[in-house]
Symmetry: C2
Subunit: 510 residues, 2 copies
């Protein structure tokens, strides 16, 4: 089954793009014996690079089941300027030349195979093209689909940088209610059903931006049944879904409070590719029978952000329009990033095998970090598991301070602070119209003074326009996002110890 | 002297950009002892790269005065993941992490020093920030300055991809007449002076896009006196000048027809840094006392296009607005490109010395290629020098076929074909309203059939809107662009031989 016609979603600018006339010469270049004097290409003999050699980890190095010496686990590959020795899949003469806008051919083919095997798109003629990471990807999607006056459907809390892209263009967000599984289907349906009543004369939104796995900032992961409900509504109301999924691979087992105070290790499972793939929640792409999902993937979290390398998966019409826009903006991702990632994936071959092993190991490493943080909280406070949630009381008290849903993916713990038993907060209630906002800033400053930097929840509120307040939290609640990705165990222990000190003092429990 | 206030040139979208709230946390990260749980950064221990090692040419390898064995001229540098051994200026742990939007600090400082030493900007508080190459740079400038309804001042012939950026936005070009020194000052002045008469009610253009050195496609280079004339007019009419100068360093001595038929070598000069710098034509930046020049530089022609790395030099207000736009689009150029280029420049140090030597050698290499092409034409036809021009006659005849100004910079030979003595062309005159267009395509096809690919001049005509014809050539003239950058001597000899065959047959001279 092929994608349906969704061309009416294109912005006027995206629809108006035409190929550069120089592209029409391309087909002649491959004619046998043709001498091209058409391209203004620098001569590769004049690139200063002769070769580069990389030393990299073996793909199994971070698997918990790996017990071998890590020093023996290094692999090497070399990229020569000319020719492709030892089965190299790229050389620097072509890898560092002007290159196809969609991406280096070998890499594109690899990524296409990854999409097929891991996401299993539900329609046939999907297309794949590289981008400069998902920030670049999203900016191109906004320009592809949106035009002045547009509203964009968003999770109630979302990544602020993606909003900073379109806020200056005058677009507005529509904040959608969330639960532990992400956007609520009933909320989305009601928003769309009642749109003409709530927004008379205003064009109904046609783009939904969603971070389905380990959502930033809430850490929640959307189940496949929720995705199906959302998808069906998007079909009914003709919505394009932008599935921005940088944390997709970082999916964890559910968290259980430790029975011993010094934490618990992840049990070392034996690696099994099929079991690994089966453990991953299905994507929007896997149920997208119409081609209305634009999926954004990135190597930022799986290889390194500095690669500035990711890819789009979408219907061929959208892909072609994005390609046209790419030609006149970024042209193509860095040839270094593409060449090095290509050779790394090749060295980890054959096929997807090595890369999937690497991803599985990475998953367990971030799961350990999630556990470090949750364990440290359990140690510094009194914590109890209550359904999906962990409820956190002042040490040796029944004063409820915090609650959170231990994330089953990603890098973030989204922490609710319960203020109703804080005397100082209660004293602000008569003084400020929004005492939560005032207290959030005060408490945040006290935490910073104790040398722990966390980010305030209000930063993540969906932007609904200047006239709409951005404090969307509940009564007597403030929110903070704690990232567990970038710490050592010692640092996270110390940070949570400091945080606990601040809270116990503020609640007058110490 | 600092830049004047030019904020009225900002597009509404550029003016409306705000920093992400997350940026407000940045200053706390450097507080001594702070533990940050604020950023969603992957942990660098989980980047798969341990180190890379590069083998590169020494900077003097391509100097004509270099007579040493090229094998002894290789340099090596290694970039470790952690720590900076042997004076490394970057490591992979930070080089591949999320990085400052303006660019890696060491590289930014290097480029700043290059700008100061080589371009000598005429005002004090200019700023420098990296981009993903000049296509990316130009797209950001268009978004910085332009809004619906805008007209952009352009060379009569210009690079089509830069137009493909803004044509879909409904902007229009204003084609400016050129001579051998580029845009004519009298034409620019007249266009602006008469604007309100020629375009009643339409906002006067406020952006001039110009490729001053080895212009694409015409190959011409603007002298400093012409730049000063153009600059003064831009001050008078409040125009922002975008100086897109990828071929700046590739400036050559003037071409003289060879006295012997098999061509001539470039005399090997002894390398002298001061003489090299003094030989370069001064930039718009060097006379920009007000900060109204945005200069685009790129490593594409000096290192390799695949780096996708270049930089803006402009006033601090524009730089800050471009930075805001970069945060939500490309974020920062590839960490691989920035790290490798940094270490290469460092290995070529100390200071700018090695890089300037490299550039000087590169210059002579492209000058040799320019000479190969001109020499081949002189060999296959009868050629005579006439002032700035070379006039080309059919071999052993006085039938004028071609004329061109041998380029003193860049990669392109812009070739006029004189049709008045072509019988077939003359027979088209009664049949077609634009016989030049018809004949250009026919002749181009014959040349392709002879297995030489060149690009038709009409591809490069400035876009002035759908209602304006794009055939701006003179009567009985067609134009082709021949790139000499990407060929070997054998190939260029063969290509020109084939081209000569086609022309002699078409003019019935053989």
């Amino acid at each position: 089954m092929d994608a349906i016609d969704l061309s009416h979603h294109l912005s006027p600018i995206a629809a108006a793009r035409t190929p550069s006339p120089l592209k029409s010469l391309m087909k002649y270049m491959s004619v046998d014996g043709m001498i091209s004097l058409s391209g203004g290409l620098p001569h590769p003999s004049l690139f200063p690079f002769v070769n580069i050699e990389a030393e990299v980890y073996s793909p199994g190095i971070y698997l918990p089941s790996n017990t071998s010496d890590s020093n023996s686990e290094l692999l090497r590959f070399k990229i020569h300027k000319n020719g492709r020795a030892n089965g190299q899949v790229v050389d620097l003469a072509s890898g560092l030349q002007y290159a196809p806008t969609a991406g280096h051919p070998w890499l594109l083919q690899y990524v296409r195979e990854f999409v097929r095997a891991v996401y299993q798109p539900a329609y046939k003629n999907y297309d794949v093209l590289m981008d400069d990471g998902s920030t670049d990807g999203w900016s191109k999607v906004v320009n592809l689909l949106c035009e002045p006056g547009d509203y964009i459907l968003l999770e109630k809390y979302t990544f602020p940088s993606t909003q900073a892209m379109w806020v200056p263009m005058g677009y507005k967000g529509v904040a959608l209610e969330m639960d532990v599984h992400g956007i609520r289907a009933d909320g989305l349906e009601a928003t769309l059903r009642e749109w003409d009543t709530t927004h008379p004369g205003v064009k109904r939104p046609h783009v939904l931006y969603v971070i389905p796995t380990g959502q930033n900032p809430t850490g929640c992961t959307m189940s496949i049944s929720r995705k199906q409900e959302i998808y069906d509504i998007c079909v009914k109301y003709d919505i394009i879904i932008v599935e921005d999924d940088p944390y997709y691979i970082l999916q964890f087992d559910s968290y259980k409070l430790p029975t011993i105070a010094n934490g618990h290790a992840v049990p070392p499972p034996s690696y099994d590719e099929t079991a690994f793939l089966d453990s991953l929640v299905k994507t929007f792409l896997s149920i997208d029978v119409q081609g209305r999902v634009i999926r954004l993937d990135t190597f930022s979290k799986t290889m390194a952000p500095g690669n500035r390398l990711g890819w789009f998966t979408c219907n061929p019409l959208f892909a072609e329009r994005i390609l046209r826009a790419t030609e006149v903006t970024t042209q193509t991702p860095s040839g270094w990033s593409q060449s090095i990632i290509s050779e790394l994936l090749h060295a980890w071959g054959p096929g997807l095998g090595g890369y999937l092993r690497w991803l599985s190991g990475l998953q367990s490493q971030y799961e350990i970090r999630r556990n470090w943080m949750c364990d440290a909280i359990a140690k510094e406070f009194d914590a109890e598991q209550e359904g999906d949630k962990v409820i956190v009381y002042g040490k040796g008290t029944r004063v409820k301070l915090l609650s959170f849903v231990p994330p089953q993916a990603g890098m973030f713990l989204w922490c609710k602070v319960h203020l109703s038993e804080n005397k100082e907060y209660n004293s602000l209630k008569g003084v400020f119209e929004e005492p939560e906002m005032a207290f959030e800033q005060k408490l945040w400053q006290e935490i910073v003074d104790a040398k722990v930097l966390i980010s305030p929840g209000r930063f993540y509120a969906a932007w609904e326009g200047k006239d709409k307040p951005r404090n969307t939290a509940e009564r007597d609640i403030v929110l903070y996002r704690l990232a567990f990705s970038m710490t050592t165990k010692d640092n996270v222990d110390l940070a949570i110890h400091r945080l606990a000190g601040v809270l116990h003092r503020s609640w007058e429990l110490s």
